[in-house]
Subunit: 341 residues, 2 copies
């Protein structure tokens, strides 16, 4: 247990790509829990693309981070001291305490974790927010039917990897888009996708590479990236195709608007595009909880973690995430995980 | 009965706006019905924006018109001679015989009309394809709830006028966008919309005018036009808004792609955009038939026809339609209507 609460604050708002200068490492006294609260230490901290939007001033779908406050984000931790009868010292919890080593909470929205059910870090990936994102977008918007072709961008990432594996479990052809040979090999050989296209290697040949991997066209495009990948995919959508719009990571650092596709394409092909954010749907995830944790334990759904040790390295790791440098779910290990051998 | 079949053929494909030179008026012998067929004379011919796409070479959602063939389109006619036991001389029918004064048909997809149930011309407007388009897009994609705000562009037209009236019947605030004071007055005073904005008069003030008319934001935008109207509306959509994408008339004459909005807008607001064409849904229109014809007879849904006499005037009238010159459902009267006083 460190003597201080180590925090990463938002120091200034980025214009375009964030730099480490937008963040500030800062120690503060460890807070004391009041009656009804508990104090936890952070073990795992999640870094996710949506956090880029929280750094801006502009209205997004959630409140922005105020300058001088810790960055927000999901965490897995352990209770150190409790004045709340629902939480005991030593309990493992998934919470939303942000980029800091310690936090107090009244327990609202906090989930207790059973280390025997799944590794506690997966509460930030495949059986946490990214897994739910994949499940909700694919099932509720994509509505996959056996024999259909599902394409997902950022396919080796925390969301994309689950999308493709769920699609396979439903009898669909799953095609990933990822950056680099290692990621594509992993997506096909480890995760079992039918194909994966390296958008960096293909360059201007991307359209043709997608066509070769999707000989029957594309029924569902799970959108995580936007930009050139989207432009190559949309003309290859089949009539009545569905596009769960989950993220647009290639545009998050853009300082100007990024024009989208001509809507005549959506009209002629009768496409549906639906933007969504998983936190709107946390209360209607019943089917997710029935299916996904068991599939992870049974090995039908695999996952990969990209672990960076030390909270001080979070800014650099986050900047890399926006550039696709991570390989698997990006986690910051802030403290010791006693459940891990 | 004329001695010849008067036809309007597609002579050449337009680049951008069509001109009368793209069409050719041509007489041909009146065809003879074979066994199982009937011959009809055209009384009413429908002109609709979608026909612009049929003039192109590019793939649309239906087959293009071949050069030298009559333009396609919905018609209302009367049987002159029949060798099909289901159709008798004198029967009124709604069919899809295109821009010509006479046609033979085997009766597939043809609907018999009862002049006592509704004026036969309305089979081309409010109780025909445009009315079904309004109903399907609003109900199946828009899913209006009482108290929501519904905005529809081309509000005085065959589709838009029904969208707004159906929205009002469901307890929504209905706001139209139309071009010119006369149309806006009609939309509010005759059709009962809550407000209508003259996009031509407002010009660069359009965004503010829409905001004033939609103080609670916009829940459903029924899209018929695209372009500047769309650009002013999208930022005013409420979270979880729905956009039935029915048409993009402002873009139909464009020779290059028209960039659409930044998808970050769809993502942040969790909007759904769904392109549709009513002919995909003709077999699932049961609720439409229960509601709309009775509402038209009862006066809860009103309509307006813009009648141009003479098939030779169809090209000029169609060109005007694409510029918004019509006021109400544009019909060509090709022959005498004995059911009209």
């Amino acid at each position: 247990m460190t003597a201080m609460n180590r925090r990463v604050l938002l120091k200034s708002r980025p214009s375009g790509e964030p730099t480490v200068a937008n963040f500030e490492i800062s120690d503060a006294p460890i807070p004391e829990p009041k009656e009804g609260e508990y104090l936890s230490r952070t073990i795992w901290m999640s870094l996710d693309p949506y956090m880029r939007g929280r750094m801006d001033d502009a209205k997004g779908y959630a409140a922005n981070v105020n300058l001088g406050d810790p960055m927000v984000g999901g965490t897995v931790g352990q209770v150190l001291k409790s004045r709340n009868p629902k939480f005991k010292e030593g309990d493992y919890i998934a919470e939303f305490s942000g980029w800091q080593s310690h936090a107090v909470s009244n327990g609202a929205g906090v989930m207790k974790l059973d280390p025997a059910a799944a590794p506690i870090s997966t509460a930030l990936s495949v059986v946490g927010m990214p897994g739910m994102t994949a499940w909700w977008g694919l099932m509720q918007i994509g509505k996959p039917k056996a024999g259909e072709t599902v394409v997902v961008s950022a396919a080796s990432g925390a969301v994309g990897s689950v999308v493709g594996q769920l699609a396979r479990l439903r009898g669909c052809r799953a095609v990933g888009i990822a950056g680099g040979k290692d990621k594509c090999d992993y997506v096909v050989k480890e995760l079992g996708f039918d194909a994966c296209i390296d958008y960096r290697a293909e360059g201007t040949n991307l359209f043709k590479a997608i066509r070769a991997a999707c000989p029957k066209g594309i029924d569902i495009y799970f959108e995580n990236v936007g930009g050139a990948v989207q432009a190559a995919i949309l003309p290859q959508m089949n009539d009545f195709g569905r596009i769960p719009l989950c993220g647009l990571i290639s545009q998050y650092n853009a300082t100007a608007m990024s024009p989208g596709p001509d809507w005549r394409l959506l009209l002629i092909k009768r496409l549906t595009v639906s933007g969504f954010i998983v936190s709107d749907h946390f209360t209607t995830m019943g089917e997710f909880w029935k299916e996904v944790p068991a599939a992870v334990r049974g090995g039908q759904i695999k996952y990969r973690e990209d672990i960076v040790k030390g909270i001080d390295n979070a800014p650099e790791a986050f900047i890399g995430l926006l550039k696709g440098r991570n390989f698997g779910k990006l986690l910051i290990q802030v403290g010791d995980d006693p459940t891990r051998k």
